[in-house]
Protein backbone atom coordinates (compact mmCIF):
# COMPACT_ATOMS: atom_id res chain seq x y z
CA UNK A 1 0.00 0.00 0.00
CA UNK A 2 2.75 2.45 1.02
CA UNK A 3 4.73 1.64 -2.12
CA UNK A 4 1.64 2.06 -4.24
CA UNK A 5 0.91 5.46 -2.66
CA UNK A 6 4.46 6.62 -3.12
CA UNK A 7 4.46 5.52 -6.75
CA UNK A 8 1.17 7.25 -7.41
CA UNK A 9 2.42 10.41 -5.70
CA UNK A 10 5.69 10.42 -7.62
CA UNK A 11 3.79 9.90 -10.86
CA UNK A 12 2.29 13.38 -10.34
CA UNK A 13 5.74 14.87 -11.00
CA UNK A 14 6.16 13.79 -14.65
CA UNK A 15 2.51 14.67 -15.27
CA UNK A 16 3.08 18.20 -13.98
CA UNK A 17 6.27 18.39 -16.00
CA UNK A 18 4.43 17.57 -19.23
CA UNK A 19 1.61 19.96 -18.35
CA UNK A 20 4.10 22.78 -17.74
CA UNK A 21 5.94 21.97 -20.96
CA UNK A 22 2.74 22.06 -23.03
CA UNK A 23 1.63 25.34 -21.43
CA UNK A 24 5.04 26.91 -21.89
CA UNK A 25 5.28 25.80 -25.51
CA UNK A 26 1.77 27.03 -26.30
CA UNK A 27 2.40 30.45 -24.83
CA UNK A 28 5.66 30.86 -26.71
CA UNK A 29 4.48 29.35 -29.98
CA UNK A 30 2.32 32.33 -30.86
CA UNK A 31 3.24 35.90 -31.67
CA UNK A 32 2.95 38.64 -29.07
CA UNK A 33 4.50 39.12 -25.68
CA UNK A 34 3.75 40.54 -22.26
CA UNK A 35 4.71 44.09 -23.28
CA UNK A 36 2.14 44.37 -26.09
CA UNK A 37 -0.16 47.28 -25.41
CA UNK A 38 -2.36 49.48 -27.50
CA UNK A 39 0.68 51.72 -27.72
CA UNK A 40 3.89 49.98 -28.69
CA UNK A 41 6.82 50.51 -26.38
CA UNK A 42 10.03 51.91 -27.88
CA UNK A 43 12.33 49.08 -28.99
CA UNK A 44 15.03 50.08 -26.48
CA UNK A 45 12.58 49.93 -23.56
CA UNK A 46 11.28 46.58 -24.72
CA UNK A 47 14.82 45.23 -24.98
CA UNK A 48 15.65 46.43 -21.48
CA UNK A 49 12.47 44.86 -20.09
CA UNK A 50 13.24 41.61 -21.88
CA UNK A 51 16.76 41.63 -20.49
CA UNK A 52 15.54 42.38 -16.97
CA UNK A 53 13.10 39.47 -16.99
CA UNK A 54 15.38 37.15 -18.94
CA UNK A 55 13.03 37.04 -21.93
CA UNK A 56 15.93 37.73 -24.30
CA UNK A 57 17.39 34.30 -23.61
CA UNK A 58 16.50 31.22 -25.67
CA UNK A 59 13.15 29.71 -24.78
CA UNK A 60 14.71 26.51 -23.46
CA UNK A 61 16.91 28.49 -21.05
CA UNK A 62 13.89 30.43 -19.83
CA UNK A 63 12.03 27.22 -19.18
CA UNK A 64 14.88 25.63 -17.28
CA UNK A 65 15.47 28.65 -15.08
CA UNK A 66 11.75 28.92 -14.36
CA UNK A 67 11.48 25.27 -13.35
CA UNK A 68 14.69 25.65 -11.35
CA UNK A 69 13.19 28.53 -9.39
CA UNK A 70 10.14 26.50 -8.45
CA UNK A 71 12.02 23.37 -7.50
CA UNK A 72 14.77 25.03 -5.47
CA UNK A 73 13.06 28.06 -3.92
CA UNK A 74 9.36 27.43 -4.55
CA UNK A 75 9.51 30.73 -6.44
CA UNK A 76 7.16 31.09 -9.37
CA UNK A 77 8.96 34.18 -10.64
CA UNK A 78 7.74 37.70 -11.36
CA UNK A 79 4.42 38.74 -12.81
CA UNK A 80 4.96 40.69 -16.03
CA UNK A 81 1.86 42.76 -15.55
CA UNK A 82 1.66 43.51 -11.86
CA UNK A 83 5.12 45.03 -11.81
CA UNK A 84 5.66 45.31 -8.07
CA UNK A 85 4.25 41.89 -7.19
CA UNK A 86 5.56 38.38 -7.57
CA UNK A 87 3.42 35.49 -8.76
CA UNK A 88 3.68 34.01 -5.26
CA UNK A 89 2.13 37.20 -3.78
CA UNK A 90 -0.75 37.26 -6.24
CA UNK A 91 -1.57 33.60 -5.80
CA UNK A 92 -1.14 33.86 -2.04
CA UNK A 93 -3.74 36.63 -2.02
CA UNK A 94 -6.24 34.76 -4.15
CA UNK A 95 -5.87 31.20 -2.97
CA UNK A 96 -7.69 31.46 0.39
CA UNK A 97 -10.93 32.69 -1.17
CA UNK A 98 -10.76 30.06 -3.93
CA UNK A 99 -10.12 27.25 -1.46
CA UNK A 100 -12.85 28.49 0.88
CA UNK A 101 -15.38 28.66 -1.95
CA UNK A 102 -14.40 25.20 -3.21
CA UNK A 103 -14.59 23.59 0.23
CA UNK A 104 -17.93 25.19 1.07
CA UNK A 105 -19.40 24.06 -2.24
CA UNK A 106 -17.99 20.57 -1.69
CA UNK A 107 -19.51 20.36 1.80
CA UNK A 108 -22.88 21.55 0.51
CA UNK A 109 -22.76 19.09 -2.40
CA UNK A 110 -22.01 16.12 -0.14
CA UNK A 111 -24.39 17.12 2.66
CA UNK A 112 -27.30 17.70 0.29
CA UNK A 113 -26.51 15.27 -2.53
CA UNK A 114 -26.18 12.09 -0.48
CA UNK A 115 -29.42 12.52 1.55
CA UNK A 116 -31.23 13.50 -1.64
CA UNK A 117 -30.10 10.30 -3.34
CA UNK A 118 -30.98 8.12 -0.33
CA UNK A 119 -34.36 9.81 -0.05
CA UNK A 120 -35.03 9.11 -3.75
CA UNK A 121 -34.04 5.45 -3.53
CA UNK A 122 -36.12 4.78 -0.40
CA UNK A 123 -39.16 6.23 -2.13
CA UNK A 124 -38.36 4.59 -5.45
CA UNK A 125 -40.97 5.46 -8.11
CA UNK A 126 -42.93 7.53 -5.59
CA UNK A 127 -42.95 11.27 -4.93
CA UNK A 128 -39.56 11.46 -3.11
CA UNK A 129 -37.97 9.89 -6.18
CA UNK A 130 -39.69 12.33 -8.55
CA UNK A 131 -38.74 15.39 -6.47
CA UNK A 132 -35.14 14.27 -6.19
CA UNK A 133 -34.93 13.41 -9.90
CA UNK A 134 -36.40 16.79 -10.83
CA UNK A 135 -33.81 18.59 -8.70
CA UNK A 136 -31.03 16.48 -10.24
CA UNK A 137 -32.16 17.21 -13.77
CA UNK A 138 -32.25 20.94 -13.15
CA UNK A 139 -28.83 20.76 -11.52
CA UNK A 140 -27.28 18.82 -14.37
CA UNK A 141 -28.84 20.95 -17.09
CA UNK A 142 -27.97 24.32 -15.61
CA UNK A 143 -24.38 25.47 -16.11
CA UNK A 144 -22.89 27.09 -13.01
CA UNK A 145 -22.69 30.51 -14.65
CA UNK A 146 -26.35 30.34 -15.64
CA UNK A 147 -27.34 29.16 -12.16
CA UNK A 148 -25.28 31.98 -10.63
CA UNK A 149 -26.98 34.61 -12.76
CA UNK A 150 -30.46 33.21 -12.14
CA UNK A 151 -29.77 33.21 -8.40
CA UNK A 152 -28.73 36.87 -8.63
CA UNK A 153 -31.91 37.70 -10.58
CA UNK A 154 -34.11 35.99 -7.99
CA UNK A 155 -32.42 36.61 -4.66
CA UNK A 156 -30.52 39.85 -5.20
CA UNK A 157 -32.45 41.82 -7.80
CA UNK A 158 -36.03 40.77 -7.13
CA UNK A 159 -36.17 39.66 -3.51
CA UNK A 160 -33.21 41.77 -2.34
CA UNK A 161 -32.27 39.19 0.27
CA UNK A 162 -28.62 38.68 -0.56
CA UNK A 163 -25.87 40.84 -2.05
CA UNK A 164 -24.82 40.37 -5.68
CA UNK A 165 -21.08 40.35 -5.10
CA UNK A 166 -18.19 40.62 -2.66
CA UNK A 167 -16.57 38.20 -0.24
CA UNK A 168 -16.30 39.99 3.13
CA UNK A 169 -19.21 38.61 5.13
CA UNK A 170 -20.99 35.23 5.29
CA UNK A 171 -24.08 36.70 3.60
CA UNK A 172 -22.02 37.11 0.43
CA UNK A 173 -20.89 33.47 0.49
CA UNK A 174 -24.37 31.97 0.08
CA UNK A 175 -25.15 32.50 -3.62
CA UNK A 176 -21.70 31.65 -5.05
CA UNK A 177 -21.57 28.48 -2.98
CA UNK A 178 -24.99 27.31 -4.17
CA UNK A 179 -24.18 28.21 -7.77
CA UNK A 180 -20.97 26.19 -7.69
CA UNK A 181 -22.53 23.28 -5.79
CA UNK A 182 -25.56 22.88 -8.08
CA UNK A 183 -24.00 20.46 -10.53
CA UNK A 184 -22.12 18.33 -7.95
CA UNK A 185 -25.28 18.02 -5.81
CA UNK A 186 -27.12 16.47 -8.76
CA UNK A 187 -24.23 14.20 -9.68
CA UNK A 188 -23.88 12.90 -6.14
CA UNK A 189 -27.66 12.48 -5.75
CA UNK A 190 -27.96 10.53 -9.02
CA UNK A 191 -25.05 8.32 -8.15
CA UNK A 192 -26.21 7.68 -4.59
CA UNK A 193 -29.70 6.80 -5.82
CA UNK A 194 -28.42 4.32 -8.40
CA UNK A 195 -26.06 2.76 -5.89
CA UNK A 196 -28.78 2.45 -3.21
CA UNK A 197 -31.16 0.79 -5.67
CA UNK A 198 -28.43 -1.66 -6.62
CA UNK A 199 -27.76 -2.55 -2.99
CA UNK A 200 -31.48 -3.07 -2.24
CA UNK A 201 -31.48 -6.18 -4.41
CA UNK A 202 -28.52 -7.81 -2.68
CA UNK A 203 -28.78 -11.07 -0.81
CA UNK A 204 -27.43 -9.70 2.46
CA UNK A 205 -30.24 -7.14 2.57
CA UNK A 206 -32.81 -9.93 2.14
CA UNK A 207 -31.02 -11.91 4.85
CA UNK A 208 -31.07 -8.94 7.20
CA UNK A 209 -34.78 -8.44 6.62
CA UNK A 210 -35.61 -12.13 7.06
CA UNK A 211 -33.71 -12.49 10.32
CA UNK A 212 -35.89 -9.68 11.70
CA UNK A 213 -33.60 -6.65 11.64
CA UNK A 214 -35.73 -3.50 11.84
CA UNK A 215 -36.23 -1.50 8.70
CA UNK A 216 -34.34 1.53 10.04
CA UNK A 217 -31.44 -0.65 10.99
CA UNK A 218 -31.29 -2.34 7.58
CA UNK A 219 -31.24 1.04 5.88
CA UNK A 220 -28.66 2.71 8.12
CA UNK A 221 -26.41 -0.22 8.99
CA UNK A 222 -26.48 -2.21 5.76
CA UNK A 223 -27.76 -0.26 2.79
CA UNK A 224 -26.31 3.20 3.24
CA UNK A 225 -22.89 1.98 4.35
CA UNK A 226 -22.52 -0.25 1.32
CA UNK A 227 -24.15 2.12 -1.13
CA UNK A 228 -21.81 5.00 -0.33
CA UNK A 229 -18.65 3.13 -1.31
CA UNK A 230 -18.99 3.64 -5.08
CA UNK A 231 -20.12 7.23 -4.49
CA UNK A 232 -16.63 8.01 -3.19
CA UNK A 233 -15.21 7.38 -6.66
CA UNK A 234 -16.99 10.36 -8.18
CA UNK A 235 -15.79 12.71 -5.43
CA UNK A 236 -12.45 13.00 -7.25
CA UNK A 237 -13.89 14.31 -10.52
CA UNK A 238 -16.24 16.50 -8.48
CA UNK A 239 -13.38 18.08 -6.54
CA UNK A 240 -11.61 18.67 -9.83
CA UNK A 241 -14.74 20.30 -11.19
CA UNK A 242 -14.94 22.56 -8.13
CA UNK A 243 -11.30 23.56 -8.44
CA UNK A 244 -11.42 24.48 -12.11
CA UNK A 245 -15.05 25.54 -12.21
CA UNK A 246 -14.68 28.15 -9.52
CA UNK A 247 -13.03 30.74 -11.73
CA UNK A 248 -16.23 31.49 -13.57
CA UNK A 249 -18.20 31.83 -10.33
CA UNK A 250 -15.47 34.10 -8.95
CA UNK A 251 -15.92 36.25 -12.03
CA UNK A 252 -19.71 36.52 -11.73
CA UNK A 253 -19.72 37.35 -8.02
CA UNK A 254 -16.48 39.43 -8.04
CA UNK A 255 -14.80 37.14 -5.53
CA UNK A 256 -11.13 38.00 -4.91
CA UNK A 257 -9.92 34.46 -5.62
CA UNK A 258 -7.21 33.38 -8.03
CA UNK A 259 -9.56 32.28 -10.79
CA UNK A 260 -10.18 35.78 -12.04
CA UNK A 261 -6.49 36.17 -12.88
CA UNK A 262 -6.49 33.17 -15.15
CA UNK A 263 -8.20 34.47 -18.27
CA UNK A 264 -6.60 37.86 -17.72
CA UNK A 265 -3.15 36.32 -17.56
CA UNK A 266 -3.65 34.41 -20.83
CA UNK A 267 -4.94 37.47 -22.66
CA UNK A 268 -2.08 39.62 -21.37
CA UNK A 269 0.55 36.91 -21.88
CA UNK A 270 1.61 37.14 -18.28
CA UNK A 271 3.58 33.89 -18.67
CA UNK A 272 4.71 33.64 -15.08
CA UNK A 273 1.27 33.98 -13.55
CA UNK A 274 -0.41 31.80 -16.14
CA UNK A 275 1.99 28.88 -15.84
CA UNK A 276 1.94 28.98 -12.07
CA UNK A 277 -1.84 28.84 -12.06
CA UNK A 278 -2.01 26.03 -14.61
CA UNK A 279 0.45 24.02 -12.53
CA UNK A 280 -1.47 24.64 -9.33
CA UNK A 281 -4.73 23.58 -10.93
CA UNK A 282 -3.15 20.47 -12.44
CA UNK A 283 -1.52 19.57 -9.14
CA UNK A 284 -4.81 20.05 -7.30
CA UNK A 285 -6.64 17.77 -9.73
CA UNK A 286 -4.00 15.04 -9.65
CA UNK A 287 -3.55 15.21 -5.88
CA UNK A 288 -7.27 15.23 -5.09
CA UNK A 289 -7.77 12.18 -7.30
CA UNK A 290 -5.05 10.40 -5.38
CA UNK A 291 -6.65 11.33 -2.04
CA UNK A 292 -9.99 9.97 -3.22
CA UNK A 293 -8.40 6.68 -4.33
CA UNK A 294 -6.79 6.27 -0.93
CA UNK A 295 -10.05 7.08 0.79
CA UNK A 296 -11.75 4.47 -1.36
CA UNK A 297 -9.39 1.75 -0.25
CA UNK A 298 -9.75 2.90 3.36
CA UNK A 299 -13.53 2.63 3.52
CA UNK A 300 -13.78 -0.53 1.45
CA UNK A 301 -11.53 -3.21 2.95
CA UNK A 302 -12.11 -5.42 -0.11
CA UNK A 303 -9.97 -3.09 -2.22
CA UNK A 304 -6.22 -3.54 -2.03
CA UNK A 305 -3.80 -1.60 -4.16
CA UNK A 306 -0.52 -3.19 -5.07
Amino acid sequence: MATYLLRRFLWIIPVLFVVSLITFALMHAVPGGPWDNEKRLPQATEDRLNAKYGLDKPVAVQYVSWVGGIVTRFDFGPSYRYVDRTVNDIIGDGLPATIQLGLMAFAVAVLLGIPLGIFAALGHNKWPDYISTAISIVGIATPSFVLGILLIVIFSVNLRWLPTNGWDEPKQWVLPTIALAGFPISQIARYTRASMLEVTRRDYIRTAHSKGVTNTSVVTRHMIRNALIPVVTILGPILAFLVTGSFIIERIFSIPGMGRFYIQSIAQRDYGLLMAMTLIYAFAVAFLNLVVDVLYAYIDPRIRYS
Binding site: W11, I12, V15, L16, V18, V19, I22, T23, L26, M27, A29, V30, P31, G32, I137, V138, I140, A141, T142, P143, F145, V146, I149, L150, I152, V153, V157, R190, Y191, A194, L197, E198, I234, A240, V243, T244, G245, I248, R251, I252, Y262, I263, I266, A267, L274, T278, Y281, A282, V285, A286, N289
Partner: protein
Amino acid sequence: MATNTAAATSASVRPRAAMGPWREALGRLLRNRLAVIGLILVILAFVTAILGPILAPFPYEAQDLKGVLANGGRPVPPGVGGHLLGTDVLGRDLFSRLLDGAQISMTVAIVVQVVVLLIGVPIGALAGWFGGRWDTYLMRLTDVIYAFPDLLFIILLSVAFRQTFFGQALNGLFLVFFAIGLTSWVTVARLVRGQILSLRETEFVEAARAIGVPDRRIILRHLIPNGLGPIIVAVTLGIPGAILSEATLAYIGVGVQPPRASWGSLVAEGQKYIRGDSHLVIFPAVAIALALISFTFLGDGLRDALDPKLKGKQ
Protein backbone atom coordinates in the same frame (compact mmCIF):
# COMPACT_ATOMS: atom_id res chain seq x y z
CA MET B 1 -42.67 -26.28 -52.90
CA ALA B 2 -40.09 -27.37 -50.41
CA THR B 3 -37.58 -24.89 -51.72
CA ASN B 4 -40.23 -22.24 -51.58
CA THR B 5 -40.83 -22.86 -47.90
CA ALA B 6 -37.13 -22.78 -47.21
CA ALA B 7 -36.78 -19.51 -49.08
CA ALA B 8 -39.78 -18.04 -47.29
CA THR B 9 -38.45 -19.15 -43.91
CA SER B 10 -34.97 -17.82 -44.46
CA ALA B 11 -36.40 -14.59 -45.87
CA SER B 12 -38.54 -14.06 -42.80
CA VAL B 13 -35.85 -15.15 -40.38
CA ARG B 14 -32.73 -13.53 -41.71
CA PRO B 15 -33.73 -9.86 -41.43
CA ARG B 16 -34.82 -10.42 -37.84
CA ALA B 17 -31.57 -12.10 -36.98
CA ALA B 18 -29.62 -9.22 -38.51
CA MET B 19 -31.72 -6.45 -36.99
CA GLY B 20 -32.61 -8.20 -33.74
CA PRO B 21 -30.60 -6.52 -30.99
CA TRP B 22 -30.83 -3.07 -32.57
CA ARG B 23 -34.57 -3.25 -33.11
CA GLU B 24 -35.04 -4.48 -29.57
CA ALA B 25 -32.94 -1.60 -28.28
CA LEU B 26 -35.04 0.83 -30.31
CA GLY B 27 -38.17 -0.65 -28.75
CA ARG B 28 -36.73 -0.21 -25.26
CA LEU B 29 -35.75 3.35 -26.08
CA LEU B 30 -39.22 4.26 -27.33
CA ARG B 31 -40.84 2.82 -24.21
CA ASN B 32 -38.75 5.16 -22.03
CA ARG B 33 -40.77 8.34 -21.55
CA LEU B 34 -37.86 10.67 -20.68
CA ALA B 35 -35.77 9.35 -23.57
CA VAL B 36 -38.61 10.02 -26.02
CA ILE B 37 -38.99 13.57 -24.68
CA GLY B 38 -35.23 13.96 -25.09
CA LEU B 39 -35.30 12.54 -28.60
CA ILE B 40 -38.13 14.87 -29.66
CA LEU B 41 -36.36 17.90 -28.20
CA VAL B 42 -33.08 16.92 -29.88
CA ILE B 43 -34.79 16.54 -33.26
CA LEU B 44 -36.57 19.85 -32.69
CA ALA B 45 -33.26 21.52 -31.83
CA PHE B 46 -31.63 20.26 -35.03
CA VAL B 47 -34.61 21.25 -37.16
CA THR B 48 -34.58 24.71 -35.55
CA ALA B 49 -30.88 25.05 -36.15
CA ILE B 50 -31.16 24.03 -39.82
CA LEU B 51 -34.28 26.08 -40.56
CA GLY B 52 -33.16 28.94 -38.29
CA PRO B 53 -32.47 31.46 -41.07
CA ILE B 54 -35.93 30.77 -42.58
CA LEU B 55 -37.82 30.75 -39.29
CA ALA B 56 -36.15 33.87 -37.92
CA PRO B 57 -38.51 36.86 -38.15
CA PHE B 58 -35.52 39.22 -38.55
CA PRO B 59 -31.88 38.83 -39.61
CA TYR B 60 -29.92 38.24 -36.38
CA GLU B 61 -27.89 41.44 -36.81
CA ALA B 62 -30.78 43.71 -37.86
CA GLN B 63 -31.37 46.59 -35.46
CA ASP B 64 -34.83 47.90 -34.61
CA LEU B 65 -33.61 51.28 -33.37
CA LYS B 66 -37.09 52.79 -33.59
CA GLY B 67 -38.39 50.19 -31.17
CA VAL B 68 -35.56 50.88 -28.73
CA LEU B 69 -36.06 54.65 -28.97
CA ALA B 70 -39.81 54.24 -28.46
CA ASN B 71 -38.97 52.40 -25.27
CA GLY B 72 -36.79 55.26 -24.00
CA GLY B 73 -33.50 53.74 -25.19
CA ARG B 74 -34.07 50.47 -23.35
CA PRO B 75 -34.33 46.93 -24.75
CA VAL B 76 -37.75 46.19 -26.24
CA PRO B 77 -39.66 43.88 -23.87
CA PRO B 78 -40.99 40.49 -25.09
CA GLY B 79 -44.08 40.60 -27.32
CA VAL B 80 -43.74 44.25 -28.37
CA GLY B 81 -43.33 45.39 -32.01
CA GLY B 82 -43.26 41.86 -33.44
CA HIS B 83 -40.38 40.82 -31.20
CA LEU B 84 -41.54 37.57 -29.66
CA LEU B 85 -38.82 37.55 -26.99
CA GLY B 86 -37.99 41.27 -27.13
CA THR B 87 -34.72 42.83 -28.30
CA ASP B 88 -31.39 43.76 -26.79
CA VAL B 89 -30.32 47.37 -26.23
CA LEU B 90 -29.24 47.67 -29.88
CA GLY B 91 -32.69 46.57 -31.05
CA ARG B 92 -31.60 43.13 -32.26
CA ASP B 93 -34.40 40.56 -32.10
CA LEU B 94 -33.62 38.09 -29.31
CA PHE B 95 -35.60 35.22 -30.87
CA SER B 96 -33.67 35.51 -34.14
CA ARG B 97 -30.38 35.64 -32.27
CA LEU B 98 -31.33 32.55 -30.28
CA LEU B 99 -32.09 30.71 -33.53
CA ASP B 100 -28.68 31.70 -34.86
CA GLY B 101 -27.15 30.51 -31.58
CA ALA B 102 -28.91 27.16 -31.97
CA GLN B 103 -26.93 26.68 -35.17
CA ILE B 104 -23.69 27.16 -33.25
CA SER B 105 -24.67 24.84 -30.41
CA MET B 106 -25.86 22.05 -32.72
CA THR B 107 -22.72 22.35 -34.84
CA VAL B 108 -20.69 21.97 -31.64
CA ALA B 109 -22.78 18.92 -30.77
CA ILE B 110 -21.85 17.19 -34.03
CA VAL B 111 -18.40 18.47 -34.93
CA VAL B 112 -16.86 17.90 -31.50
CA GLN B 113 -18.11 14.32 -31.40
CA VAL B 114 -16.76 13.72 -34.91
CA VAL B 115 -13.35 14.96 -33.75
CA VAL B 116 -13.64 12.74 -30.67
CA LEU B 117 -14.47 9.68 -32.76
CA LEU B 118 -11.78 10.37 -35.36
CA ILE B 119 -9.10 10.58 -32.68
CA GLY B 120 -10.49 8.28 -30.00
CA VAL B 121 -11.59 5.22 -31.97
CA PRO B 122 -8.34 4.53 -33.90
CA ILE B 123 -6.12 5.15 -30.88
CA GLY B 124 -8.30 3.09 -28.56
CA ALA B 125 -8.52 0.30 -31.13
CA LEU B 126 -4.74 0.23 -31.62
CA ALA B 127 -4.13 0.12 -27.89
CA GLY B 128 -6.73 -2.58 -27.34
CA TRP B 129 -5.82 -4.80 -30.30
CA PHE B 130 -2.04 -4.62 -30.26
CA GLY B 131 -1.60 -3.92 -26.53
CA GLY B 132 1.97 -3.72 -25.23
CA ARG B 133 3.78 -0.52 -26.08
CA TRP B 134 0.76 1.13 -27.72
CA ASP B 135 -1.30 0.46 -24.66
CA THR B 136 1.30 1.99 -22.34
CA TYR B 137 1.58 5.13 -24.47
CA LEU B 138 -2.19 5.59 -24.48
CA MET B 139 -2.48 5.16 -20.73
CA ARG B 140 0.33 7.63 -20.01
CA LEU B 141 -1.18 10.17 -22.39
CA THR B 142 -4.52 9.70 -20.68
CA ASP B 143 -2.96 10.48 -17.31
CA VAL B 144 -1.59 13.77 -18.60
CA ILE B 145 -4.83 14.79 -20.29
CA TYR B 146 -6.88 13.91 -17.24
CA ALA B 147 -4.57 16.02 -15.07
CA PHE B 148 -4.90 19.01 -17.37
CA PRO B 149 -7.99 20.88 -16.22
CA ASP B 150 -9.87 20.70 -19.54
CA LEU B 151 -11.67 24.02 -19.49
CA LEU B 152 -8.37 25.75 -18.73
CA PHE B 153 -6.66 23.90 -21.56
CA ILE B 154 -9.40 24.92 -23.99
CA ILE B 155 -9.14 28.55 -22.90
CA LEU B 156 -5.37 28.43 -23.16
CA LEU B 157 -5.47 26.96 -26.65
CA SER B 158 -8.21 29.30 -27.86
CA VAL B 159 -6.60 32.47 -26.57
CA ALA B 160 -3.08 31.50 -27.60
CA PHE B 161 -4.07 30.87 -31.22
CA ARG B 162 -6.74 33.56 -31.48
CA GLN B 163 -4.70 35.78 -33.80
CA THR B 164 -3.61 33.01 -36.17
CA PHE B 165 -5.37 31.81 -39.32
CA PHE B 166 -6.34 28.69 -37.44
CA GLY B 167 -8.02 30.80 -34.78
CA GLN B 168 -9.92 32.97 -37.25
CA ALA B 169 -11.40 30.06 -39.21
CA LEU B 170 -15.19 29.71 -39.00
CA ASN B 171 -15.51 32.98 -37.14
CA GLY B 172 -13.34 31.72 -34.28
CA LEU B 173 -15.39 28.58 -33.80
CA PHE B 174 -13.08 26.10 -35.52
CA LEU B 175 -10.46 26.43 -32.80
CA VAL B 176 -13.08 26.02 -30.07
CA PHE B 177 -14.44 22.82 -31.66
CA PHE B 178 -10.96 21.46 -32.08
CA ALA B 179 -9.87 22.33 -28.54
CA ILE B 180 -12.97 20.79 -26.97
CA GLY B 181 -12.55 17.66 -29.09
CA LEU B 182 -8.90 17.42 -28.12
CA THR B 183 -9.76 17.29 -24.43
CA SER B 184 -12.64 14.82 -24.73
CA TRP B 185 -11.36 12.01 -26.95
CA VAL B 186 -9.58 10.16 -24.14
CA THR B 187 -12.81 8.84 -22.65
CA VAL B 188 -13.82 7.30 -25.98
CA ALA B 189 -10.31 5.92 -26.56
CA ARG B 190 -10.34 4.21 -23.18
CA LEU B 191 -13.80 2.85 -23.82
CA VAL B 192 -12.88 1.43 -27.24
CA ARG B 193 -9.76 -0.12 -25.75
CA GLY B 194 -11.77 -1.77 -22.98
CA GLN B 195 -14.37 -3.06 -25.43
CA ILE B 196 -11.76 -4.56 -27.71
CA LEU B 197 -9.86 -6.12 -24.81
CA SER B 198 -12.96 -7.93 -23.62
CA LEU B 199 -14.34 -8.80 -27.08
CA ARG B 200 -11.10 -10.27 -28.42
CA GLU B 201 -11.28 -12.95 -25.74
CA THR B 202 -14.79 -14.07 -26.77
CA GLU B 203 -15.44 -17.41 -28.49
CA PHE B 204 -16.75 -15.93 -31.72
CA VAL B 205 -13.61 -13.86 -32.24
CA GLU B 206 -11.48 -16.85 -31.39
CA ALA B 207 -13.48 -18.91 -33.89
CA ALA B 208 -13.03 -16.24 -36.56
CA ARG B 209 -9.28 -16.21 -35.96
CA ALA B 210 -9.13 -19.98 -36.01
CA ILE B 211 -10.64 -20.12 -39.50
CA GLY B 212 -8.14 -17.51 -40.65
CA VAL B 213 -10.18 -14.33 -40.91
CA PRO B 214 -7.74 -11.41 -41.28
CA ASP B 215 -7.37 -8.87 -38.41
CA ARG B 216 -8.90 -6.05 -40.42
CA ARG B 217 -12.03 -8.06 -41.12
CA ILE B 218 -12.36 -9.19 -37.50
CA ILE B 219 -12.16 -5.58 -36.34
CA LEU B 220 -14.66 -4.34 -38.93
CA ARG B 221 -17.16 -7.21 -38.88
CA HIS B 222 -17.03 -8.46 -35.31
CA LEU B 223 -15.45 -6.02 -32.91
CA ILE B 224 -16.95 -2.74 -34.08
CA PRO B 225 -20.61 -3.89 -34.41
CA ASN B 226 -20.45 -5.65 -31.04
CA GLY B 227 -18.70 -2.82 -29.23
CA LEU B 228 -20.77 -0.06 -30.79
CA GLY B 229 -23.42 0.31 -28.07
CA PRO B 230 -21.31 1.83 -25.29
CA ILE B 231 -19.58 4.09 -27.82
CA ILE B 232 -22.91 5.48 -29.06
CA VAL B 233 -23.86 6.13 -25.44
CA ALA B 234 -20.56 7.82 -24.61
CA VAL B 235 -20.80 10.02 -27.69
CA THR B 236 -24.39 11.07 -26.93
CA LEU B 237 -23.58 11.77 -23.29
CA GLY B 238 -20.51 13.73 -24.41
CA ILE B 239 -22.67 16.17 -26.37
CA PRO B 240 -24.10 18.12 -23.41
CA GLY B 241 -20.56 18.49 -22.08
CA ALA B 242 -19.39 19.94 -25.40
CA ILE B 243 -22.36 22.32 -25.64
CA LEU B 244 -21.68 23.41 -22.08
CA SER B 245 -17.98 23.99 -22.75
CA GLU B 246 -18.74 26.12 -25.80
CA ALA B 247 -21.34 28.13 -23.88
CA THR B 248 -18.95 28.66 -20.99
CA LEU B 249 -16.19 29.80 -23.34
CA ALA B 250 -18.56 32.15 -25.15
CA TYR B 251 -19.68 33.48 -21.78
CA ILE B 252 -16.14 34.56 -20.93
CA GLY B 253 -15.65 35.94 -24.46
CA VAL B 254 -13.69 33.15 -26.13
CA GLY B 255 -14.86 31.71 -29.45
CA VAL B 256 -17.55 33.14 -31.69
CA GLN B 257 -17.03 36.79 -32.55
CA PRO B 258 -19.70 39.54 -32.77
CA PRO B 259 -22.11 40.25 -34.38
CA ARG B 260 -22.85 36.53 -34.26
CA ALA B 261 -23.66 35.26 -30.81
CA SER B 262 -23.72 31.88 -29.17
CA TRP B 263 -26.12 31.24 -26.31
CA GLY B 264 -23.24 31.65 -23.88
CA SER B 265 -22.34 35.09 -25.16
CA LEU B 266 -26.02 36.10 -25.12
CA VAL B 267 -26.09 35.25 -21.41
CA ALA B 268 -22.96 37.34 -20.88
CA GLU B 269 -24.49 40.30 -22.74
CA GLY B 270 -27.81 39.94 -20.97
CA GLN B 271 -26.13 39.92 -17.60
CA LYS B 272 -25.47 43.64 -17.94
CA TYR B 273 -29.21 44.34 -18.02
CA ILE B 274 -30.09 41.93 -15.27
CA ARG B 275 -31.73 44.61 -13.12
CA GLY B 276 -34.33 45.95 -15.53
CA ASP B 277 -34.50 43.58 -18.48
CA SER B 278 -33.89 40.12 -17.14
CA HIS B 279 -35.56 38.55 -20.21
CA LEU B 280 -32.23 39.10 -22.01
CA VAL B 281 -30.50 36.64 -19.72
CA ILE B 282 -33.37 34.30 -18.90
CA PHE B 283 -34.23 33.19 -22.46
CA PRO B 284 -30.70 32.19 -23.54
CA ALA B 285 -30.18 30.53 -20.15
CA VAL B 286 -33.32 28.47 -20.67
CA ALA B 287 -32.18 27.57 -24.19
CA ILE B 288 -28.88 26.20 -22.85
CA ALA B 289 -30.64 24.30 -20.07
CA LEU B 290 -33.16 22.74 -22.50
CA ALA B 291 -30.40 21.62 -24.88
CA LEU B 292 -28.44 20.04 -22.03
CA ILE B 293 -31.53 18.34 -20.59
CA SER B 294 -32.65 16.85 -23.91
CA PHE B 295 -29.26 15.36 -24.80
CA THR B 296 -28.87 14.03 -21.25
CA PHE B 297 -32.32 12.36 -21.37
CA LEU B 298 -31.58 10.85 -24.76
CA GLY B 299 -28.14 9.64 -23.66
CA ASP B 300 -29.49 8.09 -20.45
CA GLY B 301 -32.27 6.41 -22.43
CA LEU B 302 -29.82 5.06 -25.00
CA ARG B 303 -27.63 3.68 -22.25
CA ASP B 304 -30.55 1.85 -20.67
CA ALA B 305 -31.76 0.62 -24.07
CA LEU B 306 -28.41 -0.53 -25.48
CA ASP B 307 -26.99 -2.07 -22.37
CA PRO B 308 -29.62 -3.26 -19.91
CA LYS B 309 -26.87 -4.47 -17.58
CA LEU B 310 -25.71 -0.90 -17.05
CA LYS B 311 -29.16 0.40 -16.19
CA GLY B 312 -29.04 3.05 -13.53
CA LYS B 313 -25.29 3.42 -13.47
CA GLN B 314 -23.35 6.45 -14.62
